[in-house]
């Protein structure tokens, strides 16, 4: 099972996304995002990116989703919609699950899968070698490079975040 762990985690990832894109109440969407975030962290860590996986847990789940959960808890209604409460939501969820199951069976059965791009079924998902140089870990060097060669990217993303806050305040100001 450990050879195909990335495949299994990816399937759980997609099932999670199907779960919140079938539009239950945002509280349950946040719950599914926690599961998907954790599983996504597992996928990144299997490729050797331990620092980035830690970032996902700390910043995404521990910062952004916590704030999201608090704001949705403030704005939620009395009987929030679950997957089984509304026929439409359950129908879309089951349809997404069905399509994912069919895709997984297609990948498992056939030698080569060519949906949008070709990959050789489950074999491509197994990680035999991370492809490391053996001297340093590329992902931490990448983060360090972001602050040295990629200083312009930091400036642009910082400015985008500032403008994002200003835009949201301006839009929700009303009259």
């Amino acid at each position: 099972m450990m050879t195909y762990i990335v495949f299994i985690l990816s399937v759980i990832f997609v099932i999670g996304f199907v779960g919140f894109s079938s539009k239950p109440s945002p509280i349950y969407g946040g719950l599914v995002l926690i599961v998907s975030g954790g599983v996504g962290c597992g996928i990144i860590m299997n490729f050797g990116g331990s620092f980035l996986g830690l970032m996902v847990f700390l910043i995404y789940l521990g910062g952004m989703l916590v704030v999201f959960g608090y704001t949705t808890a403030m704005a939620t209604e009395q009987y929030p919609e679950v997957w089984v409460s509304n026929a439409t939501v359950m129908g879309v969820f089951l349809l997404g699950l069905l399509m994912e199951v069919m895709l997984v069976l297609y990948v498992l059965k056939s030698e080569e899968v060519g949906v949008v791009f070709k990959f050789s079924s489950v074999g491509d998902w197994a990680i035999y070698d991370i492809g490391n140089s053996g001297v340093f870990s590329e992902e931490i060097v990448g983060v360090a490079a972001l602050y040295s060669y990629g200083a312009w990217v930091v400036v642009v993303t910082g400015w985008s975040l500032l403008v994002g806050v200003l835009v949201i305040l301006e839009v929700t100001r009303g009259d």
Binding site: F117, V153, W159
Partner: protein, 346 residues
Amino acid sequence: MNPLILTIILMTVFLGTMIVMASSHWLMIWIGFEMNLLAIIPILMKKYNPRAMEASTKYFLTQATASMLLMMAIIINLMHSGQWTITKVFNPTASIIMTLALAMKLGLTPFHFWVPEVTQGISLTSGLILLTWQKLAPMSILYQISPSINLNILLTMAVLSILVGGWGGLNQTQLRKIMAYSSIAHMGWMAAILVYNPTLTMLNMLIYIMMTLTMFMLFIHSSSTTTLSLSHTWNKAPLITTLILITLLSMGGLPPLSGFMPKWMIIQELTKNSSIILPTLMAIMALLNLYFYMRLTYSTSLTMFPSTNNMKMKWQFETKQITLLPPLIIASSLLLPLTPMLSILD
């Protein structure tokens, strides 16, 4: 809006487009698109009525979907070529998805449905920024990937856009919707010549922006958003009616005005590449465009449109300031003799 916030937001709209146009890394281009989209939302929502909010939501949804499609195309390109530079798209799938994403951003058929509704729901100045500045960034990316675009898809979208832009504008009396359908048709003309001679796309973009700027400035000056309201401008500023006549005929592509130059060059380039039926069809469908421009000039400057007697004096609260109108008028009507200067662009 607070002037400092407005300055920051306008600067970010400008910066987003500049980042898109000047970057060679696909991720920075995507960041530029998102920055542009984020910052233009409060400009679209300047007035807080539900119409403007619905228009901003529609704009945000379509453009965000297009950005996501662009990101998927970028990642497919990365998977097949292993690098992030923008010079050539190495995979036909990535190229097709990228073309569709940029067509969604521009408002080409079959992704044109948001253009009339969003343009109608916002104020005239916001509509001006939407229809001119927002077209620069996607067109610059299309220009840069033009060698690897699938010809069939782009030409189909271009011809359908010209058809939809002409046909859809026929029954409109709201000026903003007329300008939106005019924008769809002009984007179709620009997309048609993109694979053959991208320089003419840029020429068409330049002349289209000048003409659309002129039209919007004239509408803002007479504070009119419907044909009926525009037909009363002979009361207040008779010179505006003459300028509307000239600019609308230029937009329709009539010689000797400058709107004829891009259409002439495009038809010439298409026939040089041995396609005869296509430019014939495009020229015929541009007549639909000319028809509703002519109807607008007929009701505005050529006749006194029927109205009740107490509506004959146009009520206006304060004189709106028009920016740069004389140079724009000159540029959108008298540039045709400069056509031989196009030889410097090779």
